[in-house]
Symmetry: C2
Subunit: 198 residues, 2 copies
Amino acid sequence: MDCGLLYSGGKDSTLAALVLERFYDVTLVTARFGLTDDWRHAAESAGRLGFPFETLDLDPSVAEDAVARMVEDGYPRHGIQEVHRAALDALAEEGFDAVADGTRRDDRVPSISRAQAQSLEDRHDVDYLAPLSGFGRRAVDRLVEATLTVEVGPSEQIDRADYEAELRALLGEREGEGAIAEVFPAHDQTTVTGRRDR
Amino acid sequence: MDCGLLYSGGKDSTLAALVLERFYDVTLVTARFGLTDDWRHAAESAGRLGFPFETLDLDPSVAEDAVARMVEDGYPRHGIQEVHRAALDALAEEGFDAVADGTRRDDRVPSISRAQAQSLEDRHDVDYLAPLSGFGRRAVDRLVEATLTVEVGPSEQIDRADYEAELRALLGEREGEGAIAEVFPAHDQTTVTGRRDR
């Protein structure tokens, strides 16, 4: 069975790949709007980890809508959630037996409810997997420590490729650089540099 | 890191063990009230799969309370849920780094909410893992088919060792054999007989 996993190059989506690789032929898939080249960082992480990698082009209107929502809200949560759901819908059309993401039990965003999961599966006749959704923050941190090598830093300096980089770029373009710090403040993120030998 | 996994000998808790064994030293643990010898079926499955096995003695008053609740309700759901939570609490006192169960995304019972998971972790300083909680019914069935050999049959004929066998026995003792069919109707269950070669 094959599985397409939404991939950022960060620790959560990488750990999700390690959980799934025993059971599925996993392809790491980075969704992009074509606004920046940040997807290349995810491609690099995927290569170091030894997984096949693909990009998935999303409709730029999804990014425009999400940024408008973030500006209206004054915070990024709902906008990110909209982009994540659009990415899962697009991935589910790619022909994989299963689609997956790296959401954890304690994530507020993105998060997919049981009803949303069932709807995604029914609409696209695909299995939706959230392999980390039964793991809390401390358990994930311990597993990452045991299995991966990572770099940690503020989100504007770390090379990774989730929606944030492109959404920040678009936000700056639409509302000015000041809007980025105001609506979408920097926070520490990790990027995965490789597997740790067991 | 070591992990104690609540184990019945059925497909869900066995698949949970396969997910976790890459990351943890997994011990399969069957909770029992000392009413029947059904735990031996789980011990046998664990041996065939190559996992260490332990039993965990629960206070018989937990079974008495659960059966009283089932009779009052006229169905088993809440009683089973009470036993499952008591079993997790007892397991969390056994000194493992993590405790786990085989609950799936689509299970109505037993199920552990995010708040209950956090409470369990905080009260016992342990990680709680539900490795199948991000997998729906069809995905679990497909993974079981790919990795395990199983036997399926009505619950009164299949050798397994979740709380049901002991709770049924106690229910019959307290309320008469007729109460078993009325309160706790039979349904198809699986027992795992081994690993499938990949």
